[in-house]
């Protein structure tokens, strides 16, 4: 029977106050750790997803909204722009890479993004199974989509219009899964990717303005026609390309459907520019901003702005977590004080039995530390299980998988914080025990 064991026995002999202290401490620390975990993963996501996009062009509207919707796949799009502008820029030799993205459809709350293969390269996506899409209606799915919806290569599904709630389903055509991507820790994990032409085909015949609204309350703007001969020839070229796969009757139909889609109805949501800098960037910026219905946005300052906007909320959560932790500290303090009041005679007894004042002091400090370490251990369980739970519903909201099963080094510093809390709250009770007048206590 050593002092540490004695402290432990004293704690478990009064389970209810001990449980209250441990629980409060755990909840306080968990809040702080969940915040850290979220912040860490959010930053990682922003870095993985956002770092390579140097410029975004989309319909005029909120700049932040354009970045969030077309880069991070979080918000609703600001509207649409004409594909003609994309083909116009294609001619510019200073632009090495540009990626069209077209949003508005979804399947079981997973966003369908019409794009090209460069989009996958942008986020360093690698195929886990199958092949890259070549033709309209072919789809490549992220790992989380495959896991959650149980889709695999060869499966077919019917997409719907709308991102949150499907307003109507495009049941004339079915998507076919041709590939599944490996986990990339980026936005790719949660998306269904398909060629931009798929989106046009899906929407052929539904192309009045109200129908093409992409999200609740968000009126899409029709881009004015950017009439260009080049864009026509570009489309013609792609049209010819389609003819190489002529062995399937569906494709025959697709070709004619595609050919019948008016040039003004060929729209995309935004264009992403990786590796764009210097004069090329300025050129594109000016070009886009001169268009009456378009804007070009540099994502980096927008992301910075967003981070700054989030700072007050983060501070509030941090303050709440400290508040709970301080209450927990008082709980440990009052709990120990209460328990010691009933144990005054026991403290005197320990001294009679040969325990020095220091030993008595240490035994009470141990009680505080044991409670706080228990609180820390429980907090690890709570915070990671809690993060996993929160992550599962944040995933739909942010198109990014948040997990509870990562551990940060900074979590270890919380052990020190917990021990410090235990020591501080046990200090006064321990000092009281240290100064117990044995003779007087025993005479009572």
């Amino acid at each position: 029977m050593n002092i540490l064991r004695l402290s432990w026995k004293n704690i478990i002999s009064k389970p209810l106050p001990s449980i209250l202290s441990v629980l409060l401490l755990a909840v306080g620390l968990s809040t702080a750790i969940i915040l850290k975990l979220t912040e860490h993963q959010l930053t990682e996501n922003i870095n993985n997803t956002g770092k390579d996009v140097k410029l975004v062009i989309g319909a005029k509207g909120s700049r932040l909204q354009l970045v969030l919707s077309s880069v991070f796949q979080i918000d609703n799009p600001t509207g649409n722009i004409n594909y003609g502008f994309y083909t116009l820029l294609k001619r510019n030799r200073m632009i090495k890479e540009m990626i069209p993205v077209s949003m508005g459809d979804s399947y079981k709350r997973k966003r369908i993004v019409g794009t090209n293969q460069d989009y996958i390269r942008l986020f360093s996506g690698k195929l886990k199974e199958g092949v890259l899409f070549e033709k309209p209606l072919e789809a490549i799915i992220g790992i989380a989509v495959a896991a959650e919806l149980g889709l695999k290569v060869g499966d077919e599904f019917v997409g719907g219009h709308g991102m949150e709630e499907v307003l109507h389903s495009h049941d004339e055509y079915k998507y076919k899964v041709v590939g599944v991507l490996e986990r990339s820790g980026s936005v790719l994990d949660n998306l269904i990717l398909t060629p931009v032409q798929t989106v046009w085909i899906m929407h052929a015949g539904h192309n009045d303005d109200s129908e093409y609204t992409l999200g609740a309350g968000d009126k899409a703007m029709h881009a004015p026609e950017v009439v260009l001969e080049d864009s026509l020839s570009q489309i013609a070229e792609e049209h010819n390309h389609e003819h190489h796969h002529h062995d399937n009757h569906v494709e025959v139909n697709l070709d004619s459907v595609l050919a019948n889609i008016d040039q003004k109805d060929r729209e995309i949501t935004a264009i992403l520019f990786p590796n764009l800098s210097g004069n090329a960037k300025i050129g594109v910026l000016n070009n886009a901003n001169n268009q009456p219905s378009m804007m070009a946005v540099d994502p980096a300052p927008e992301i910075m702005l967003l981070k700054n906007k989030l700072t007050p909320f983060v501070s509030i959560i941090v303050a709440i977590s400290w508040f709970i932790t301080i209450i927990a500290m008082f709980s440990v303090f009052i709990g120990l004080l209460n328990s010691l009041r009933g144990r005054k005679y026991e403290i005197a007894l320990m001294r009679v039995l040969g325990a020095s004042k220091a030993k008595v002091l240490v035994s009470i400090l141990f009680e505080g530390v044991i409670l706080s370490v228990l609180g820390y251990l429980l907090c690890l369980v709570l915070s990671h299980a809690g993060m996993e739970l929160i992550g599962s519903w944040m995933q739909n909201e942010y198109q990014y998988e948040f997990t509870g099963w990562i551990f940060l080094n900074s979590e270890l510093t919380y052990l020190l914080v917990a021990i410090a809390i235990g020591l501080v709250s046990a200090l006064i009770p321990a000092y009281k025990a240290y100064n117990t007048d044995i003779s007087e206590t025993l005479s009572k």
Binding site: L6, V352, L353, G354
Partner: protein, 208 residues
């Protein structure tokens, strides 16, 4: 073995206690008699170093404990003096066995469960080894507290009114046990009491 001389203790400038000199040799058993308020418990606390006298000396095992202080005194007391209190108190969070092994380790001795079992058996409470203290009767508690006073085979056992909380039957039994056990471990026994039921012959009777 135990020797006091010129021992005084001042509660306040008005209330001064002066104790008669006496000495006990090893294994001797003595009774200190006196009415309540005459300083019996104070003497016991002075003998065990829980109180410091205003003057005089207390020698236990040829060591003057009035010259000791701090951890050294606590340690000396734990190892050499066993105390039986009027009302038995224990660490309530622990079992009988744990209370007794804690007594061993706090005194700096090694944990010896066999000794604990032997003592409890001698005192007729071996079945309570793993019981919590609050499950014991007063008589049983007093037996366990005698076991605790003896568990480190101390040179000196001090008993403060060990029988006053007990009925006649338990009084006789407990007194007999504490005397037997003290003899068995060759400990000097000093019982402080005002209990008139303690009529057995003692080696020494000291009146306060």
């Amino acid at each position: 073995m135990v020797k006091i001389n010129g021992l005084t203790y001042n509660y306040s400038p008005e209330v001064q206690l002066k104790f008669p000199d006496f000495s006990l040799s090893k294994g001797e058993q003595a009774l200190i008699l006196g009415q309540s308020g005459c300083g019996k418990t104070t003497l016991l606390h002075l003998l065990s170093g829980l109180l410091q006298p205003n003057s005089g000396n207390v020698d236990v095992e040829n060591e003057n404990i009035t010259k000791m202080s701090g951890a050294r005194l606590d340690n000396f007391r734990g190892a050499n003096i066993g105390i039986v209190f009027q009302t038995p108190h224990f660490i309530e969070a622990l079992t009988v066995k744990e209370n007794l092994t804690l007594t061993q380790t706090l005194a700096g001795k090694t944990r010896d469960v066999d000794k604990v079992k032997t003592l409890l058996a001698d005192l007729g409470v071996e079945s309570k080894l793993n019981s919590k203290l609050n499950a014991l009767s007063v008589g049983e508690k007093q037996r366990v507290s005698i076991a605790r006073a003896l568990v480190n085979s101390p040179a000196l056992i001090l008993a403060d009114e060990p029988t006053s909380a007990l009925d006649d039957k338990n009084c006789d039994a407990v007194l007999k046990l504490v005397r037997e056990q003290a003899k068995k471990y060759n400990s000097t026994l000093l019982i402080v009491t005002h209990d008139n039921r303690l009529k057995d012959p003692f080696d020494k009777r000291i009146e306060l």
